[in-house]
């Protein structure tokens, strides 16, 4: 009896998705939990896994078509694995199949065969496993619903007793791992960003000693009052707001040959999530305090690691900040997150000798980079923007006094 493949609820505000790609064609057998179709919204791709080992019997909505949440987009039939397939394990689409050494009858032990309640080992197969001292994991089941038959055990045992075939040499083998859907999506968007926009990067460097001193001075009091560590991100976010006020073009977006300026700032903070980079967005940052910014970022980081960032949180955004410094990056050229027009790249803080007032001093220095879309932002505006970031971080009082 066929099971329905249904569009799951993917976000509160989402009522419709686009069929992205059917990873598996009709009629091809897949193991349970293998991703069979990717559903797309503007911000993310969601995969629907196979509900059981079996085949897609009918695709009702093709790639590119739209479907509402709850719609049946296809039918799936649970079918026994064809010979040679391991139907019992849940192999995600990125798993590579390794050659298993054929089973050799080990010294027989009383509990080497599994006959637990929900195991799919038929009674005679169980007896065969026990008698041959084999383990259920060594046998590929071919019975209906993934059941292990007596003949499966016998066949595996007989294959083992034949001379094994030559497997690939251990020092020179390959693993071919298909891209996961989110990786694919990221790849698509990055490439399209590069093609559409005229991207350039301008650099500057920031002497972090001032803001570090400020931080050290107030960090304990801050921690005590707000129960969150005072980091650098809040300073940079505030600095970006300040710079955007001065150079609003960096926050504009190109839409159908028109420039869209917004009177609010939704700033995306790039965080490494469980499945890849996600950029959750802080809303109306111009109204958030230091503490609120730190709290929000910490929350995003935690949830991103558990893949619990919601779709709404990834949408919109007028500017993005990315920080490669936490991974030790010295300098890089971040890529713009379309349809935004600029992205600020923060990097690691390293002690460096610089020339100051005719002397060589060692200061904690951070390189910063602003990649911008030249169709929207001029060189002078981009440099001014970045210089403003530098000035404001080096002397945070400037933000307070608005000079």
């Amino acid at each position: 009896m066929a099971m329905e493949i249904v569009v799951p609820a993917v976000g509160e505000s989402i009522s419709e998705v686009q069929i992205g790609e059917w990873y598996i064609p009709e009629g091809k057998w897949v193991a349970t939990d293998t991703d069979i179709v990717g559903l797309e919204t503007d911000k993310a791709t969601f995969d629907v896994p196979a509900p059981a080992g079996g085949k897609i019997t009918r695709i009702l909505k093709k790639a590119g078509e739209r479907a509402a949440v709850g719609d049946v987009i296809g039918y799936f039939e649970e079918v026994a694995a064809p010979e040679g397939q391991d139907s019992g394990s849940s192999s995600k689409s990125s798993g590579a199949k390794k050659e298993e050494a054929p089973a050799r009858p080990a010294a027989s032990s009383g509990n080497s065969s599994s006959s637990s309640g929900d195991s799919k080992v038929m009674p005679a197969a169980s007896r065969e496993l026990a008698q041959r001292g084999m383990d259920a994991g060594q046998v590929s089941p071919t019975g209906p619903g993934g059941r292990m038959l007596k003949e499966d055990v016998i066949r595996t045992a007989e294959q083992g007793s034949q001379s094994g075939s030559v497997t690939s040499q251990p020092m020179r083998s390959e693993d071919v791992i298909p891209l996961s859907p989110i990786r694919r999506r990221i790849a698509e968007r990055l490439v399209s960003a590069q093609h559409e926009a005229a991207l350039l990067t301008t650099f500057n460097e920031i002497d972090m000693s001032g803001v570090m001193a400020l931080r050290n001075q107030y960090k304990d009091e801050f921690q005590k009052k707000y129960d969150i560590k005072l980091g650098f991100m809040s300073f940079f976010v505030k600095a970006v707001v300040d710079a955007l006020n001065q150079v609003p073009q960096v926050g504009a977006q190109l839409k159908d040959n028109k420039l869209v300026y917004r009177n609010y700032y939704d700033i995306g903070i790039a965080v490494g999530g469980g499945k890849g980079l996600v950029v959750p967005v802080l809303r109306n940052v111009e109204r958030m305090s230091f503490a609120e910014i730190e709290l929000a970022i910490a929350d995003f980081a935690r949830r991103a690691k558990d893949n619990k960032v919601t779709l709404e949180e990834l949408e919109g955004g007028t500017f993005t900040i990315t920080n490669g410094g936490i991974y030790g990056s010295l300098l890089s050229t971040p890529i713009v997150n379309p349809p935004q027009s600029g992205v600020l790249g923060m990097h690691g803080i390293f002690d460096r000798p610089i020339a100051l007032n005719g002397e060589v001093v060692i200061r904690p220095m951070m390189y910063v980079a602003l990649t911008y879309d030249h169709r929207v932002v001029d060189g002078r505006e981009a440099v001014t923007f970045l210089k403003r970031i530098k000035d404001v971080i080096e002397a945070p009082a400037r933000m307070l006094m608005e000079i």
């Binding site: 009896m1 066929a2 009709e26 085949k55 019997t57 009918r58 039918y75 039939e77 026994a80 038929m122 009674p123 005679a124 197969a125 007896r127 071919t142 019975g143 209906p144 059941r147 038959l149 007596k150 003949e151 016998i154």
Partner: protein, 462 residues
């Protein structure tokens, strides 16, 4: 007035009504056309159900007459009220056919009464006593079933030379009944009337009864039927029947005529395709008139499907049901499957004869090596206790993989016992798997377990 349905099913027998209900469950707008007033097809009205009712009634009669005394129950003079017996059968049929009406209403299947004929690939005309109606659908399913066939020289007259339909309605017990055809239907009906007092002779063209069934079982069955008083002439070629005023004579090639009151012709069934308009839409049939279909049950005309007796194969109600469901499921979901290796066939005589999967003869012909395990009911405690210890269970298993390939049972409740093995076959079970399942004691089912053990020569009780 023309209405377009998603699916129109022609025929409300087990194949048709089940397909219609399944299609409705899957969300289609379904119509079902049946020419009889009562739904249920041959099976419910003039086949499976009424015959089983009479088999039960006649068996109770025979038990009371001949076997009760051996258990210390003395009934004195036994009386037969045939009308009442037939009445009980009719009530059963009516209840069940009304049940289908209810199921159609529940599942919102639109019912049309009348004879359907294709006028073109998108037009069906339904003719009834109250007029003509035109219907159209995106897809059609022909499930018109079959009707009794006859032999050259044997003309059915609905009175003395009759089919199983009339044999379910005799006004009085025939003194002498000749049955032409030693298959399931002939043996069942012959058994009914023998029990009620007829002198019954079965004429069979082949040199064995129950063609197609396991040879060993057929031999055992023949012996048992003979011991019960059924007479047989095997290898008999019937050339004709002459109907006289008060009796008839059956002509057998190279043998004496047989004089009798009634002749039951049960030589097989032919597909019901008359006036269906198959030629109008280009639906191809084979040379025996069965509608040809591909593995999706689609006929040569796209959008028109056919299942059940009308496409041939085993003429069984449950085979039609499986095909009906598979056909409809495939249309809607892309997947529908019938496992023809696991369709049981049952003869409802006493003892019952049942089989599923392949016979020894078929395995030998296909050169498949097998092992066989048998167990006699004589060694089964329950069978002895109930006084029905005739027959045996035989299980055939692949020699190499031990997979169960077939099972053949003759004995009490064989028809129910076979279900277990049909399930085992679906699950690709080996005979050892079946043997390792616990079977309650004391039951007839233990004989199945012992037969499975016997495949490996490990039966305990024999």
């Amino acid at each position: 007035m023309s209405t377009t349905f998603d699916l129109i099913v022609i025929g409300a027998g087990p194949g048709g009504y089940v397909a219609a209900i399944r299609a409705a469950q899957l969300g289609l707008n379904v119509a079902c056309i049946e020419k009889e007033k009562a739904l249920g097809g041959t099976c419910l009205r003039v086949g499976c159900i009424p015959s089983k009712a009479l088999l039960e009634s006649s068996e109770l009669y025979e038990e009371a007459k001949s076997h009760f005394s051996s258990r210390g129950i003395n009934v004195g003079k036994l009386d037969l009220d045939l009308q009442k017996m037939l009445g009980q059968k009719n009530e059963t049929v009516t209840t069940l056919t009304r049940g289908i009406d209810g199921l159609f209403k529940k599942n919102k299947v639109t019912r049309f009464q009348g004879h359907a004929t294709f006028q073109s690939p998108d037009k069906l005309v339904v003719r009834s006593s109250s007029g003509t109606e035109e219907l159209a659908a995106k897809k059609y399913l022909i499930a018109t079933g079959s009707m009794p066939a006859t032999l050259p020289g044997v003309v059915l007259d609905g009175d003395r030379v009759i089919t199983s339909t009339e044999a379910l309605e005799f006004e009085k017990v025939p003194e002498k009944l000749v049955v032409i055809g030693g298959g399931a239907i002939g043996l069942e009906m012959g058994t009914v009337w023998r029990r009620l007092g007829s002198d019954v002779t079965v004429l069979e063209y082949l040199d064995r009864i129950l063609p197609g069934m396991d040879g060993e079982l057929a031999k055992q069955a023949l012996k048992i039927y003979k011991a019960q008083g059924l007479k047989f002439q095997l290898g008999a070629k019937v050339t004709g029947v002459t109907v006289n005023r008060k009796n008839c004579d059956v002509h057998v090639d190279g043998a004496d005529d047989i004089r009798c009151d009634r002749v039951l012709v049960s030589v097989g069934r032919k597909p019901n395709t008359e006036n269906l308009g198959l030629e109008e839409v280009g639906i191809q049939t084979d040379k025996r008139g069965f509608i040809q279909v591909n593995e999706h049950y689609e006929t040569s005309t796209p959008g028109v499907f056919a299942i059940g007796d009308v496409i041939g194969g085993a003429m069984l109600a449950h085979k039609a049901e499986e095909e009906g469901i598979a056909c409809v499921e495939r249309i809607v979901t892309g997947y529908g499957h019938v496992n023809y290796n696991a369709i049981p066939a049952i003869v409802y005589t006493t003892p019952e004869v049942a089989s599923v999967g392949m016979t020894e003869e078929q395995l030998t012909e296909k050169k498949i090596e097998y092992r066989s395990g048998s167990f006699p009911f004589a060694a089964n405690g329950r069978a002895r206790a109930i006084g029905h210890a005739e027959g045996m269970v035989k299980i055939l298993a692949d020699k190499k993989t031990d997979r169960i390939l077939g099972a053949h049972i003759i004995g009490p409740h064989a028809g129910d016992l076979i279900a277990e093995v049909a399930v085992a076959i679906e699950f690709h079970a080996s005979s050892e798997d079946l043997a390792r399942c616990c079977h309650a004691h004391p039951t007839l089912a233990e004989a199945v377990k012992e037969a499975a053990l016997a495949v490996d020569k490990r039966a305990i009780h024999f």
